[in-house]
């Protein structure tokens, strides 16, 4: 119960911080020009499912970019703002605080996905042609779960690399491409494809691709969702251990107040 209360408090804090920041609000529109350019490209594609894939994937890409950047920087922001001190002296698990924050970021960025889809619709005048809309919605929920798992991973990672400016600039597009938001991951070189299989979002996008084209069997759809859940759990474990390392590092080195 206390953990849920902590998650809610972190959610509200993050929501208020984000919603009152003009930079965050303007970020909602940032993906619109790129989405329009990609919509033009999709429209020129001779393969109709490509258009649908991009109409679904590009809004998710927009949400992913915002989440990885903001959630990834949140722990480091707490550290430099000296508000992390209170989280560390309380009994609240750091993961609970981060989870609340990432949930707020996800919900704040959902309109960004809708805006991006609207921009793409203006260019293409097409709505996604999907074989099964209920399955698509289920798959999108799993993409959101995967997005939370990925963005959480970046929060302690950012602290462990010393919170260096500009560090995220390569990881945001990398997270997008490995998630398969722009194209299915089987188009990647073999090594990157194997790395992409560790990403829950790549499995969720595989289920989206199935929902678009029609599923071969219920099991193939369910198995991709299960893989998404398993990889999410794996990433959450990695994040948990990284948070422990961050906490130990801060306590042992006494860097908390001298950061």
């Amino acid at each position: 119960m206390n953990t849920i209360r902590a998650i809610m408090a972190a959610f509200i804090q993050q929501w208020k911080t984000t919603a009152t920041n003009i930079g965050s609000v303007s970020m909602l529109f940032e993906s619109v020009p790129l989405a329009m350019a990609l919509a033009w490209m999709a429209m020129k594609s001779p393969t109709p499912p490509v258009l649908t894939y991009l109409l679904v994937g590009v809004p998710l890409m927009a949400i992913c970019n915002g989440m990885v950047f903001r959630v990834g920087g949140s722990l480091n922001g707490e550290l430099s703002g000296h508000t992390l001190d209170f989280a560390l002296i309380s009994r609240t698990p750091l993961m609970a605080v981060l989870f609340g924050k990432s949930l707020a970021q996800l919900i704040f960025r959902l309109p960004m996905g809708v805006l991006t889809l609207a921009a793409m619709f203006i260019v293409t005048r097409h709505l996604p042609e999907v074989a099964s809309i209920p399955l698509l919605l289920v798959a999108i929920v799993f993409v959101c779960i995967g997005l939370i798992a990925i963005s959480l991973l970046f929060a302690p990672f950012m602290v462990l690399v010393g919170g260096k400016a500009g560090f995220f600039n390569a990881f945001m597009p990398l997270a997008v491409v490995l998630s398969g938001f722009m194209f299915p991951i089987d188009r990647l070189p073999v090594v990157l494809e194997e790395v992409a299989r560790m990403m829950p979002t790549s499995w969720a996008m595989a289920s989206i691709w199935q929902a678009i084209n029609g599923i071969d069997s219920a099991w193939s759809f369910i198995s991709t969702l299960l893989a998404c859940i398993l990889t999410s759990i794996f990433l959450l474990f990695v994040t948990y251990f990284m948070c422990r390392i961050v906490e130990k590092k801060l306590r042992i080195t006494g860097e908390l107040a001298t950061y």
């Binding site: 260096k164 400016a165 188009r187």
Partner: protein
């Protein structure tokens, strides 16, 4: 000349926040590799292998824009944010020298970015080099990078005045991916919009780069290269005028250290 290099070094070292190993490796090596690979594969997925080559070139050049405009505009904003520009304004230092010094050390980063981005595309995506006019290709890349750096100077002045480089940068990134021919070819726009696109830096340079890559003769390529160079000079001039006007305005209004919310 000594002063020029000292100022180039100090603005680069002190005001370029991505100049730390994680940030530098991420921006100069990894990001262009990921971006070019992504768009080359996307071109192949959505369209055809020729599109993959075009997007690899376009995004390679676009990556130079990312590092140059991002780096130069942030250094202007931080110069004000850190209060260091006040020392310039109270000194008799030559403003033109100071202005020109601000892009010098960022320029090589752009060439490294292009080399890494395009090199990745060559290694991982099949691209045919049989026809490339190498001299024209290299000249067009060098001129385009210089022109983008000049544009970065003009945007830097805008960023220092608005005290926020990230929003300006985000806006520029979005506009440039649409209007410079990186993804959408200029022929897709109405003639009037096409002409507006050609007054943006990078547009003519990208035309020249693509022509050189397809084996175009230098006699055909020099025109867009020259136009790109002239575009860069115009932006450099506009940026300098803006830089001087900014100094005059903040001195007259005492607004240099004024908080944004006031």
């Amino acid at each position: 000349m000594y002063n020029y290099f000292i100022q180039a070094y100090s603005t680069y070292k002190g005001l370029f926040y991505w100049l730390n190993w994680p940030g530098y490796i991420s921006n100069v090596f990894l990001r262009p590799m990921v971006m070019v690979l992504t768009y080359a594969l996307l071109g192949r997925f959505a369209l055809n292998p020729d599109a993959a080559r075009d997007y690899a070139l376009g995004v390679g050049v676009y990556s130079m824009m990312f590092i140059l405009v991002g780096a130069i505009s942030q250094s202007y904003t931080y110069d004000r944010f850190q209060g260091t520009i006040a020392f310039l304004f109270i000194s008799p230092a030559n403003r033109m020298v100071n202005y020109l010094s601000r892009m010098l050390l960022h320029y090589p980063n752009a060439l490294i970015v292009f080399a890494f981005g395009f090199g990745t595309a060559c290694l991982l995506v099949d691209i045919d080099f049989a026809l490339v006019n190498w001299w024209a290709f290299i000249i067009s890349i060098v001129i385009t990078a210089a022109s983008i750096a000049a544009f970065g100077q003009a945007i830097g002045v805008f960023a220092i005045a608005s005290r926020n480089w990230m929003n300006t940068f985000g806006l520029i990134l979005g506009a440039f991916i649409v209007f410079t021919g990186v993804i959408v070819p200029l022929s897709a726009f109405p003639p009037a919009v096409r002409e507006i696109c050609k007054i943006l830096p990078m547009t003519n340079g990208l035309i020249a780069t693509k022509m050189a890559f397809a084996g175009g003769a230098f006699s055909n390529i020099w025109s867009p290269i020259l136009r790109e160079a002239l575009t860069g000079l115009v932006y450099l001039g506009l940026g300098y005028i803006g830089f001087r006007v900014f100094e005059k305005v903040v001195k007259r209004n005492g607004a240099l250290e004024e908080d944004l919310m006031n």
